[in-house]
Point group: C2
Chain length 132, copies 2
Amino acid sequence: MSRDNTNKRNYLTSQRQAVLDVIREAGEHLTAQEIFDRVRAKMPRLAYGTVYNALRHLKESGLVRELKFGDAASRYDAKVERHDHVVCVRCGAMMDYEVSGIESLVKEAARRTKFTILDAHVEFKGVCPRCR
Amino acid sequence: MSRDNTNKRNYLTSQRQAVLDVIREAGEHLTAQEIFDRVRAKMPRLAYGTVYNALRHLKESGLVRELKFGDAASRYDAKVERHDHVVCVRCGAMMDYEVSGIESLVKEAARRTKFTILDAHVEFKGVCPRCR
DNA sequence: AGTGAATTTAGACTTAGTATAAATTTCATC
DNA sequence: GATGAAATTTATACTAAGTCTAAATTCACT
């Protein structure tokens, strides 16, 4: 019996597809370790490095977005449109959020700093209703 | 000859003071490693862990602020008031910045998410004038 | 079937940061 | 001044996230 002969060379290998599926199916933002564990449940030979390879590829293809927060490992998100986050400092819960009027903030920052602004991210820290 | 007998127990030991001095004198946001190197130049027996201990203490005392950015190690800032940052994706240069009207963004986030918002940080990514 | 390019695998390695036990320092009291 | 408790520093071992590399595998194409 030959190995699952899904496509290579088209750059969306079975491993990368599996990583993408896991991220899309997750209701939360997973870490690389969590992704590794879940994909590995279906592909026991999966190497740890392959997950990072897949994540880099998927990021470059614009299929996932990497979220970097305070203390912990990067998390990965299938929602690729620009958006912001609210994080609970007690329990760590994280909520997607979108500030209104980001465009004017970006324009003002560009004008005042002379940078070409490519992206903006707002992170609110606070206490969620359940922890309060 | 006894060792430099600066104060302990008042919680601002000579090591912590040295760490704070280095952060205040730096024109940039230093990593723990950079702080360690600079303080160690004056205190050769300084232990790596002591820098982290000092940084934690100084954070808790509100004397320094920890900045966590994308890829790299935490950086430490003697400017403790809330402020934002603009980062160059090419050379890594980082500029302090302050968005206008953060208060209304915070209020809106509190209203819409039901979180008690304690802090907000805006990070712009872009290309600095020199890299462009 | 054979070749070349990209990918996966397995595992070593790097870096940032934490944990711990022993030694040191200080404060407070005698 | 000597003593003892509490906190800190030192030195070092350890953990966790992520990168690197060499060999094996897979695939596209002839």
